[in-house]
């Protein structure tokens, strides 16, 4: 209890890390529900890794052309990382979604290959970059420690944007996902809404990877949505429950990690995993137990 009071106090040293984790926890599942509904779960795994490779390449560029990152200052380096992250995320999601829509080849194979190549490339770049040992390794491990005010602001603005777009255009995005033919017949610009959704997913993933790393982004994109799907009865409940699970897990994960001096990212993801497994067991076993009680 004392620890909770401590981390909630305004002068808490790692408050930016806490706020950012919770915001990412709320934001990622909002777009994660669309990945689950569109059966693009593998994309949710591959995309954050590709995005982090984008960060790695962007931060390596100055070194390749003979500059040191320290000469740029932290804000410039951050802007560079953001450009790398968002460029790779958006390009990857648009290309992968286009190939997915064409329905040729093996989507799982493509996404798996993209994931493993992106991960390997990140490690290669990391090994040849003196900055990497300090910054990237923490990011790849999901150590949410050095979160600047800029990171926090970026995360908050992205969450607000995702909420606004999803709130305003939910019916169009849902219709295009559920029944493309009907959307076309009703005169909706299907390609436009598809691209908007993919941009939203790409933006959220970029923001999450840049703030908290690919590990937490993986976890928060998919696991809250999968857990919420077990209990939700309609789309509104599905979206809200997934977002609440994400936000609450981010908070309690941070608390546990801080209390027992553990890395935040892995703690969050393990907590999400435990929640999903428990939720699944309860959802499957509860009807059987209730039925047994009724019989006896």
């Amino acid at each position: 209890m004392e620890t909770i009071q401590q981390i909630l106090s305004f002068d808490f040293l790692l408050r930016n890390s806490l706020y950012t984790s919770v915001l990412v926890g709320f934001a990622c599942p909002l777009v994660g529900v669309f990945l689950v509904m569109r059966r693009l779960v593998f994309m949710g795994v591959a995309l954050p890794q590709i995005s982090s490779t984008g960060v790695a390449i962007a931060l390596s560029l100055p070194l390749w052309i003979g500059f040191k990152l320290t000469e740029f200052g932290s804000h410039s380096a951050h802007a560079l990382a953001f450009v790398g992250s968002i460029t790779f995320s958006l390009t990857a999601i648009l290309v992968l979604a286009f190939l997915e829509r064409r329905g040729r080849g093996q989507a799982e194979g493509r996404l798996g290959s993209a994931y493993v190549v992106a991960a390997a490339l990140s490690i290669l770049l990391l090994s040849k970059n003196p900055y990497g040992e300090i910054g990237w390794l923490d990011m790849l491990k999901g150590e949410v420690i050095a979160i600047s005010n800029f990171d926090l602001l970026l995360t908050a603005v992205t969450l607000a944007l995702v909420l606004a777009v999803l709130g305003l255009f939910h019916k169009e995005l849902l219709l295009v996902s559920f029944d493309r033919d009907m959307a076309t017949i009703l005169g909706k610009k299907v390609i436009f809404w598809d691209v908007l959704l993919y941009l939203l997913i790409g933006l959220t993933v970029s923001m999450a990877v840049l703030s908290v790393g690919p590990l937490i982004a993986f976890g928060f994109l998919l696991i809250p949505a999968l857990t919420a799907h077990l209990y939700a009865h309609n789309m509104r409940q599905f979206t809200l429950l997934a977002s609440l699970i994400g936000g609450a897990t981010a908070f309690f994960g941070f608390w546990i990690a801080y209390r027992w001096d553990l890395p935040v990212g892995p703690m969050d993801v393990v907590l999400l995993g435990v929640l999903y497994a428990t939720g699944w067991l309860v959802a499957k076993l509860l009807p059987i137990v209730l039925c047994h009680i009724q019989k006896t």
């Binding site: 029944d179 009907m182 017949i185 909706k188 789309m235």
Partner: protein
């Protein structure tokens, strides 16, 4: 009654520029009940998708009678094609029909929700509209999808195999309802099926796709024993 609502002129339909069926020339009349019959792979669904604007014609023209605006199609797809992962109730699915009248970023006004309930009621789906769509029976899903088509306020009701996977009793109920709606609301019906018996008592006109040929005649004439024997002889010859 004899006002043409859709006219096909030397239409060729197919995929990627390759025609599946060519030389379609016919007129569909307002308020008529038309069945599109044919075996699997005869081009029924391709014709339907072309009429709905989901596929571009390979050649030829589709003219519509609507002067002031484009025709509104109320589309009833096959019910099994929907992914059960979507947590949508029957009402949520039926409500999608009104989306065409609401601009992006605008919320659904209460009167459209009331209208959706009226359409569900008319389709006999109001009682189970609060249930998950994925958990409804085949016949119940069809009724919800018909209600969704009605919420579009359609000029033409287009149904793709509405009785597929539905038992005989439910098939008769669905066909009775479609026929009744067609008469009451003066809606043109285009119904795709491979089941002759399901539609022969309801359809006024039949478009029969048979071995690359198109027959468009009154149902009684086309489905008579003599005419059928002649067509099959032609086909075999």
């Amino acid at each position: 009654m004899n006002e043409s609502v859709i006219t096909l002129e030397n239409l060729s339909i197919g995929y990627n520029g390759q025609p599946v069926l060519s030389g379609l020339t016919l007129s569909i009349f307002r308020g008529s009940f038309n069945a599109i019959l044919g075996a699997n792979g005869s081009g029924k669904t391709t014709l339907l998708k072309t009429l709905l604007g989901l596929l571009q014609p390979v050649a030829g023209r589709i003219d519509t009678a609507s002067v002031d605006a484009r025709l509104t199609f109320g589309y009833v797809p096959q019910s099994y094609q929907f992914d059960p992962v979507y947590l949508l109730t029957g009402f949520d699915v039926a409500l999608m029909g009104v989306y065409g009248r609401i601009r992006p970023g605008h919320f659904i006004p209460p009167f459209e929700r009331t209208f959706t309930h009226e359409c569900l009621n008319a389709a006999g789906a109001e009682d189970f509209s609060h249930k998950r769509f994925a958990e409804l029976s085949g016949g119940q899903k069809q009724r919800v999808l018909i209600a969704r088509a009605l919420t579009t306020r359609p000029d033409i009701l287009v149904l793709d195999e509405p009785t597929a996977g539905v038992d005989r009793e439910a098939t008769a109920a669905v066909m009775d309802f479609i026929s009744q709606i067609c008469k009451e609301k003066k809606i043109t019906v285009l119904l795709v099926t491979h089941d002759f018996s399901a539609v022969r008592h309801y359809a006024e006109k039949v478009i029969w796709l048979h071995e690359g040929k198109v027959f468009y005649e009154a149902a009684d004439e086309l489905l008579s024993a003599e005419r059928m024997a002649k067509i099959f002889e032609l086909g075999m010859g």
